[in-house]
Amino acid sequence: MKKLMLGNMAIARGAYEAGASVVSSYPGTPSTEITENIAKYDEIYSEWATNEKVATEVAVGASIVGARSMTCMKHVGLNVAADPLFTASYTGVGGGLVLVVADDPGMHSSQNEQDSRNYAKAAKLPMLEPADSGDCKEFVKLAYDISEKYDTPVIVRLTTRVAHSQSLVAEEERIEKPLGTYEKNIGKNVMMPAMARGRHVYVEKRMAELAEFADNSDINAIEYNDKKIGIIASGIAYQYAKEAMPEASFLKIGMVHPLPMGKIKEFAKNVDKLYVVEELDPFIEEACKVNGVDVIGKDVFTLLGEYTPELIKAGIMGEKYEEKQPSGIPVRPPVMCPGCPHRGVFHVLKKLGLTVSGDIGCYTLGAAAPLASIDVCVCMGASVSGLHGMTKARGEEFSKKSVAVIGDSTFMHSGITGLIDIVYNKGNATVIILDNAITGMTGHQQNPTTGYTIKGEETRRVDIEMLAKAIGVNRVTVADPFEVDEFEKVVKAELEAAEPSVIIARRPCALLKHVNYGAPCKVDADKCKGCKMCMKIGCPAITFKDGKAIIDPSQCNGCGLCTKICKFGAIGKQEA
């Protein structure tokens, strides 16, 4: 019987059935569950790498010596992985190598809306795009075959609505792929100029052969129906378009690079009016136009966000599409959880009025009201190096009023390089590492600072204090963000210091199973003066009614931060 699976789970199943044996990834929404599901298969070695570049290099190495390997990441992770990817395009593979990238149109959980299809073109790599979970599994298996037959890494591109939608998948047996013999091949695997020139010739030949494959493969399929309207679409846009225009003819693209230009031209000849429906960039549209195929695309469809069947229908029928207007119903933005250790940190930073260079993680929510503490957030690791730039630009006084905040996993990912830059280049910056003992935002993945592997096995733990000291930071302090007075003193002292400082704000994520603060807190209405000081920490459990603060016991996890904020001693623990 078919099983209901997330797209991400089906990708994992495809890797398993295809006989993959090494998978290395860095978590990132919407890609994380692929590798989490792969970790459930004992036949596959899997790991959380320190970042996407490392993960891709691990997969490239495993591939070169003969293993079917995989690396998975979100779209912005592919920017980090781009360096090895562009050159792995030249070396090609030993065992099949598949890179899965999950784009996030609509930015459900991302800082930009980049379209990873452009990478396939830029790196000269084939890219497949599944439209549901069934496709996910089949396309991964096909990707391994293509990878080995054409000596190329293959990218499988998902979008959030494919990665995080469940649909039916038929499971099949795993086919073991024993490692062949590894033979040294300098001309193919050592990319120095002389060898790379030779390999570039191969890459161009390969892409021409793959263009031919695209035209002959069933993965790009024409479905003729009413020929007045023809629609070219891939991925989730195909599903939406099919829903919107069930009577139209379709060319479903499974391979978005190189495109099946022969099939596209044939389809164009047989329909009256031809549309390309694709979220984000006009990737297919531009390729069609360059090849002299007259299509309608971004003239009627937006470059922004996710599509819907209604939006597509309106575009094709020439109707006006009304964007939903704000309803006046109070919005409910994401918030830091009750008991979140970051809340104590941002309370202090806001109180001190500091400029805060932020980073990627749950703590980016420190930019949201009422804490509204973070000034800048660009990408993984940028808090540390960005702060260095700020202090170099504005001088000593500025560095006394500014800090960087970065999580433990993000620090391992790419914060450490920025910190080395500060030490080496005589910087003076205060970096706060928010060590909550887990990778939080993506749903609790282990990382090098936690002491556990992806499979929950104990491993050596990277000691952040020792690491900071080893690279030359003399001032390293560990502080508890819930001891707000003490934490404030530490921050003030480190801001004054005339050299780089690291403050490790250490307290575990409130959602970790072992965290138990006991009974919830409650407000003594007689003592409460209604000053609203406790409201300033932005805890979702605290609300205000009839001039007094009240705590919702079903939301409060008893962390007690508010008891330390209240100046009148009006908040205490409920009797257990």
């Binding site: 549901d132 995080h164 039916l168 939406y240 819907t308 109070p330 409910r332 994401p334």
Partner: protein, 188 residues
């Protein structure tokens, strides 16, 4: 024919478990199914929406306005926000729990009054105090299964199939609690 169920709530309320249970029920009943979930940042106490679609053949995993046969709302304000999904002749199941969003906490907005009446003016509404019922059976966290019970009653799919799905989707040690929660919801 495709049946559309929209689940709305607040991140952390257990809407994902609810969609998994509904998913297993309709797969078991032999339908083509698509479920679209929300993971990541918006899960952190923000509004969350899950779509479940089933029928002979399902293409899009998302449901758009005025197309839902049933909206299952885990929170009252989210019910109001989800009202636009209900199709003509559709209905909404509302957990009467109130969770204050941050703009209300900070005083930038007010939690609307009369939500139940506003909704009742527009479509059929079934209310349940799922948190209270869950507490009565032993754990507030079973509120999501109480709501599954209410949905089951209104689904047109046999009760036994729902019970089977609850059994396969909740941890064994919480099974009795969850079955009791389901039963309470079913009998509302």
């Amino acid at each position: 024919m495709v049946t559309n169920i929209v689940i709305v709530g607040v991140g952390g309320q257990g809407t994902l478990l609810a969609s998994r249970i509904i998913g297993s029920v309709v797969v078991d009943a032999g339908y083509d199914v698509k479920v679209s979930e929300v993971h990541g940042m918006s899960q952190r106490g923000g509004s969350v929406i899950t779509y479940v679609r089933y029928g002979d053949k399902v293409n899009s995993p998302i449901i758009t306005e005025k197309n839902a046969d049933i909206v299952l709302a885990f929170e009252k304000l989210e019910a109001l926000r989800g009202l636009d999904f209900v199709k003509i002749g559709g209905k909404i199941i509302v957990n009467t729990q109130e969770i204050m969003p941050m703009p209300v906490v900070t005083g930038a907005a007010k939690y609307p009054e009369g939500i139940i009446e506003t909704i009742a003016d527009k479509c059929e509404i079934i209310t349940a105090d799922a948190s209270k019922i869950a507490l009565e059976v032993g754990n507030i966290k079973a509120a999501n299964v109480v709501l599954i019970g209410v949905l089951a009653k209104n689904s047109g799919i046999e009760k036994e199939k729902w019970i089977e799905a609850v059994k396969t989707n909740v941890p064994a040690k919480f099974l009795d609690l969850n079955l009791a929660a389901f039963e309470k919801g079913y009998n509302i």
